[in-house]
């Protein structure tokens, strides 16, 4: 029998605020243990939480960017559980009145992954287990999180991978989180069940907790899918349980139950007041959202005729797309600039981290100036490419490398003369070409380009050469 994967995601994203959600301690990553703490975030009795306004705004931005409805009335609740990572023995979260609900993210195959809700909550402290004991660092305790919960809408591992990448991209674009999985500022819990293909019923699901790389998510999902199919095929039943994925062995294993009764006894946090969001405020926040990657991508493909794959590369990072948008101002054909960025510039900005900041020695205006010269037929593409390399080496503008003699194309008379010269001085290439060796034409072409110092139009040269040889 063939089986279908059914999966849903809960993703925790740390917000890029300066301060924690309920106190004014810094959210900076790392730091000496327990140096980003105060009586509020270590849960001393008698302290009172006060909500960070920016957390609410960031969460609303995240909601709007994922097509959610923003709640007019929201509130904070206590989720009770006893574990050393929570100094108060409860986490302040949102239970039945989250800030955002009913959104979606659309995938490239056209399917919409529905977002059930996005709520705000506080992160827990970091536990280090050593010598049989537990060491607790509360620097991360109280750092603001949003939890983004999807419906069980994923039908393949590829869809899950694309969702995580898109979510990461959207959150970075709108600037609410850096979503660095390796630093834990984005973490995914994945629910997985399987069912016979064609069935509408949901199978028993397991949950794999706290995965912090896309590769691990993919591997864990593939493993867990196979495991569940094996259990069912051999006549067994999948047990609903929480699993951890072990990267080294590539397997999932059962986690000790955090709370046997699994009863969080949610109740309203009496220390925190209601969050009311006016429609005007929602519209004000909507108006400051940048153009989102999906919209940008279709602008590039539909309006500029850029191939989809290239448009994806240009929109993956906000800084790259902003650079491109700036560089193509006033140009007729943005494709040339796109090719220069994806080719020459990306060769020098290789890592993902560097693309994120996209600090390029050539400014968008300088690239614009260079491409304008091509569009005005003042220089040839090849010469422009070489010039761009020099610009990237030095950070100087193209006028530094192109002198008057380079400007302007090669007129027809001069072109013919150069072609004749090439043919006369390369009788072997000519006879090779006549004998059917098409490639021989390339050496003649190279000769003409050399004579013209790269200024001649390669297509025109080729046509002329063929014409002259045929004479």
């Amino acid at each position: 029998m063939k089986y279908e994967l059914v999966s849903g995601f809960e993703t925790h994203v740390e917000l890029s605020t300066n301060t924690k959600i309920f106190c004014s301690c810094t959210t900076a990553f790392g730091g000496e243990p327990n140096t980003h703490c105060c009586p509020v975030c270590i849960g001393l009795p008698g302290t009172l939480p006060k909500l960070n306004r920016q957390v609410v705004r960031y969460a609303i931005m995240a909601g709007l960017a994922t097509n959610c409805e923003i709640a007019e009335v929201a509130k904070m609740d206590r989720k009770n559980y006893c574990y050393p990572d929570l100094p108060k023995a409860y986490q302040i979260s949102e239970y039945d009145k989250p800030l955002c609900e009913h959104g979606y993210i659309q995938l490239s195959n056209g399917r919409k992954i529905r977002i059930l809700r996005i709520h705000i909550e506080e992160d827990a402290g970091k536990l280090i287990h050593a010598h049989g004991d537990t060491y607790v660092d509360y620097n991360r305790g109280g750092v603001p999180l949003i939890e983004i919960v999807t419906e069980p809408d994923f039908r393949s591992v590829d869809e899950a991978r694309e969702y995580v990448e898109r979510l990461q991209q959207i959150m970075r674009y709108i600037g609410v989180s850096d979503c660095r999985m390796e630093e834990g500022s984005m973490r995914c819990d994945v629910n997985i069940s399987v069912r016979p293909e064609g069935s509408e019923e949901l199978g028993t699901r397991t949950e794999i907790k706290n995965m912090n790389s896309i590769n691990n998510i993919v591997k864990a999902m593939e493993y867990e899918f196979e495991r569940q199919v094996d259990v069912i095929e051999s006549g067994g039943k999948v047990i609903q349980e929480t699993l951890r994925y072990d990267d080294a062995s590539g397997t999932t294993s059962s986690m000790r139950g955090k709370e046997d009764a699994n009863d969080y006894r949610y109740f309203r946090d009496p220390d925190l007041v209601t969050i009311l969001t006016s429609r005007e405020e929602v519209e004000e926040i909507r108006s400051i959202l940048p153009e989102l990657p999906a919209v940008k991508q279709s602008r590039y493909t539909d309006d500029y005729g850029i191939p989809e794959k290239d448009a994806q590369l240009l929109t993956k990072y906000r800084k790259v797309s902003e650079y491109f948008d700036e560089a193509i101002k006033g140009l007729d054909n943005p494709k040339t600039a796109a090719n220069f960025i994806i080719g020459s510039i990306f060769r020098r900005v290789e890592t993902e981290k560097d693309k994120e900041t996209f600090d390029v020695p050539v400014s968008p205006a300088q690239l614009n100036e260079l491409v304008k010269l091509i569009e005005d037929k003042k220089i040839q593409n090849n010469l422009a490419k070489k010039t761009l390399e020099k610009m990237l080496d030095t950070g100087k503008s193209c006028t530094e490398f192109i002198d008057e003699s380079d400007l302007g194309g090669v007129d027809d008379g001069a072109l013919e003369e150069m072609c004749r010269k090439a043919i006369e001085s390369n009788p072997n290439a000519v006879s090779d070409y006549r004998g059917g060796k098409e490639k021989a034409l390339m050496s003649l072409l190279g000769n003409v380009m050399k004579q013209s110092r790269g200024k001649a139009d390669a297509v025109a040269v080729k046509t002329k050469l063929i014409e002259l040889i045929a004479e």
Binding site: T17, N18, T19, S24, C25, T26, E32, P33, N34, T35, H36, C37, C38, P39, I42, L44, K50, L51, N52, R53, Q54, V55, V56, N80, C82, P84, I128, G132, D133, T134, Y135, V136, D137, Y138, E259, D260, A261, D263, R265, R268, P270, V273, T274, I275, L276
Partner: protein, 92 residues
């Protein structure tokens, strides 16, 4: 109605050990305690939806960092500490 099962669950959540022969008595006592709260159900109310007692909303803080305490001060009341961390002994 408080059941024996409820008391067992609450004991687990509270990390308390309750012996089998204590259960009946504890269930009865728990029921009595919960019954106090039932009195609230009989109090008259205006029938209006009730949000929070002060009827406050949107009390926010601006996102401005204030220096934190030193690790030494933070750990002052820790029952045990080690390497500038709170130390939780494994009693299992």
């Amino acid at each position: 109605m408080v059941t024996k099962q409820d008391v067992e669950n609450i004991a687990i959540l509270s990390k308390l050990f309750v012996a089998e022969d204590e259960l009946d008595n504890l269930t009865k006592q728990m029921q009595e305690i919960v019954s106090f709260a039932d009195a609230i159900n009989n109090a008259p109310d205006s029938g209006e939806e009730f949000d929070n007692i002060n009827n406050l909303s949107n009390v926010f803080r601006e996102d401005v960092v204030v220096p934190s305490l030193s690790a030494e001060e933070i750990l002052k009341n820790a029952p045990e500490q080690g390497e500038n961390h709170f130390l939780v002994r494994n009693h299992a």
